[in-house]
């Protein structure tokens, strides 16, 4: 019987046993403590803490995940499980400046497409890509709640609204 079954080859798993948890300054640790104090259950702080790790390390890397697992008393799989659900949590490196162009209906009918084209041409990358120097990542995202001031993009955490190609040039050239 067992011969009839497909032989299972062990999957290649890139397990890096060398990874050790990330460390942070005492100021950042204190900031993390302030978030943890808000909740009766530590796990609730997972998203605020992920944002802090991202801010400090550029993205949520395996060392950051291990840190969060230790800090929150969870398994690393629990952290990955949550991290991969939310579009603002980055598990891959991302450009220093993340341009997120809203592509949903109100922005679309007020010219979001032209803004995307302009950014793509200017930066020489397509949505979903990062420039070779790691400075810019271009993304098209869903509604950012800026429909009355369309078209718009979010540059890291800042909203830039009522965009025109000239305004985009101004913003990007000033970086």
């Amino acid at each position: 019987m067992s011969q009839q079954l497909t032989k299972i080859e062990p999957l290649y798993q890139p397990v890096d046993l060398e990874v050790s948890p990330a460390t942070f300054s005492s100021e950042v640790e204190a900031e993390i403590d302030r978030h943890l104090a808000k909740y009766p259950v530590r796990r609730s702080a997972i998203l605020p803490l992920m944002f802090i790790v991202q801010r400090e390390r550029g993205y949520l890397d395996p060392a950051g995940v291990l840190y969060l697992a230790n800090r929150l008393g969870l398994r690393t799989t629990d952290i990955w499980e949550v991290a991969t659900f939310y579009s603002m949590i980055y598990t891959e490196p991302i450009g220093k400046y993340h341009i997120q162009i809203c592509k949903t209906l109100s922005c679309k009918i007020r010219g979001a497409g032209a803004i995307t084209e302009h950014c793509a041409k200017k930066l020489g990358i397509q949505p979903g890509e990062t420039t070779a120097d790691g400075r810019f990542t271009l993304s098209e995202v869903e509604c950012l709640g800026s429909c009355g001031t369309a078209p718009m993009f979010q540059l890291n955490f800042d909203y830039h609204e009522n965009l025109t190609p000239e305004k985009v040039d101004q913003i990007l050239d000033s970086l």
Partner: protein
């Protein structure tokens, strides 16, 4: 962009144009924190709930459930802590009112939350704000500390036995977390999957404790209800939809913005054509989605000359609904096939993947839309899409599935010509 009241005295937008409107002193100088004083000076929690019931305030997040009734479902004898959670995960396409309410008048939200917490005997409250609105979380944090310094947040508020904490919490980019049970999952540190109801959050919500989740606009209505009394507030609107409503208006319109109108404002055509400055570039109105992307799309012919009343009943009678109050106005240049494809891509992206009809259904819908857009439309595709919608609507775990189906169903039925040009021989 406009921010103003039309047809009524501004309530929720009363302070938005005052300099430093975020500041606690400005808030207090303009009627702020009077309501919480009134509550703590002799109103019982039940008195507060009764005023809110009398006000006929309906939840402004989208479902329109009566707020007072929602509050009365919280069991009084529960030994567990009770939670009030503000839903500031505003993500419904076309909706941006909560953003301006929080940006311009954060103390109004704090006061509303304090009153809700008092009514529900809750000591701990959270404001769950979508991650993209980081700047609003910073604004709220500053306002909460101002209120704390003034003895309005924390222990023994205004020297009474009432104590209440308000904490800000961040989402991280997930439309589904605007659904109240998914929001609670997310606030507990899990993936934002919705939960089975019952049990309703009022009985078993955050940390399996009694919880009320209310939208920003709902909570910010509460201080005025207390100040003027539930009955007076109700009279500003209609019998079943009390008070005023804040609408977001975007798309092909001369003056997009945030507008506060009395519930039951008598003419949607006047609102679009006059109050919001009319159509951009003098083009002809083609369609309006009046309640955020999830409601039925309306034809211009269902609005022009039809005296559509702007409240829950009026919009249902006109073939759509209030939803979150996000108007998306579209002119004659818009291809409704394209606009519906755009929204379907949104729902596919935002489907949380928990249940099969929504996860697979939205994915297939996008595939069919894309194939048609690539010029490979078949005559039977309209029916295929309607069948797919049928297999999602009412069969998915939470309302996101319905919200994905409704725009498509209404668009195919109301704008068959826009679909027909992409297919041959659509069935009407």
């Amino acid at each position: 962009m406009q921010i103003k009241a039309i047809g009524c005295e501004p309530l929720q937008l009363r302070r938005v144009h005052i300099e430093n409107s975020r500041n606690i002193d400005v808030y207090r100088a303009n009627g702020g924190y009077e309501a919480i004083k009134k509550v703590l000076n002799g109103m019982s929690p039940d008195d507060v709930i009764n005023e809110v019931k009398k006000s006929a305030l309906r939840g402004r997040g989208g479902a329109g459930f009566p707020t007072g009734m929602k509050w009365s479902f919280v069991p009084k004898d529960s030994p567990k802590p009770k939670y009030v959670v503000c839903n500031a995960d505003e993500s419904e396409p076309g909706t941006f009112k909560d953003r301006y309410l929080m940006e311009r008048d954060p103390h109004m939200l704090i006061e509303g939350m304090l009153i809700a917490a008092y009514a529900l005997t809750s000591k701990t409250t959270y404001i769950y704000t979508r991650g993209e609105y980081r700047y609003l979380i910073d604004i709220m944090d500053v306002a909460i500390e101002e209120a704390r310094a003034a003895g309005l947040v924390g222990n023994n508020i205004l020297g009474t036995t009432f104590s209440c904490e308000i904490y800000t919490h961040t989402g991280a980019g997930a439309y589904i977390c605007g659904e109240e049970t998914a929001l609670l999952s997310s606030l507990e540190g899990l993936r934002g999957h919705p939960r089975m109801k019952p049990p309703f959050p009022a009985v078993s919500g955050l940390y399996a404790s009694p919880t009320v989740v209310n939208n920003v606009e709902t909570l910010t209505a509460v201080p005025d209800i207390i100040k003027m009394g539930g009955e007076a507030y109700q009279k500003l609107g209609t019998e079943k939809s009390g008070g005023t409503k804040v609408w977001s208006v975007s798309g092909h319109i001369n003056e997009p913005g945030v507008y506060e109108l009395p519930m039951g404002y008598d003419d949607m055509e006047k609102f679009i054509m006059e109050d919001c400055g009319g159509m951009l570039n003098g083009k002809k109105l083609k369609a309006v989605i009046p309640g955020g992307s999830s409601v039925y799309i309306m034809r211009a012919s269902d609005i022009i000359g039809k005296d559509v009343r702007m409240d829950y009943e009026g919009l249902v009678a006109a073939g759509s609904s209030v939803g979150s109050g996000g108007f998306i106005v579209m002119d004659e240049t818009v291809d409704i096939f394209e606009s519906t494809k755009n929204l379907t891509e949104f729902y596919k992206h935002e489907s949380c993947g928990w249940c099969t009809p929504c996860r697979e259904g939205t994915d297939w819908l996008v595939k069919v839309f894309q194939r048609i857009a690539d010029g490979k439309g078949r005559p039977e595709d309209a029916q295929l899409m309607l069948d797919l919608c049928d297999n999602i609507e009412g069969k998915s775990f939470c309302p996101l599935g319905d919200a994905a189906a409704w725009p498509i169903q209404s668009a195919i039925r109301r704008f068959p010509e826009d679909f027909r040009q992409h297919l041959v021989g659509i069935d009407e």
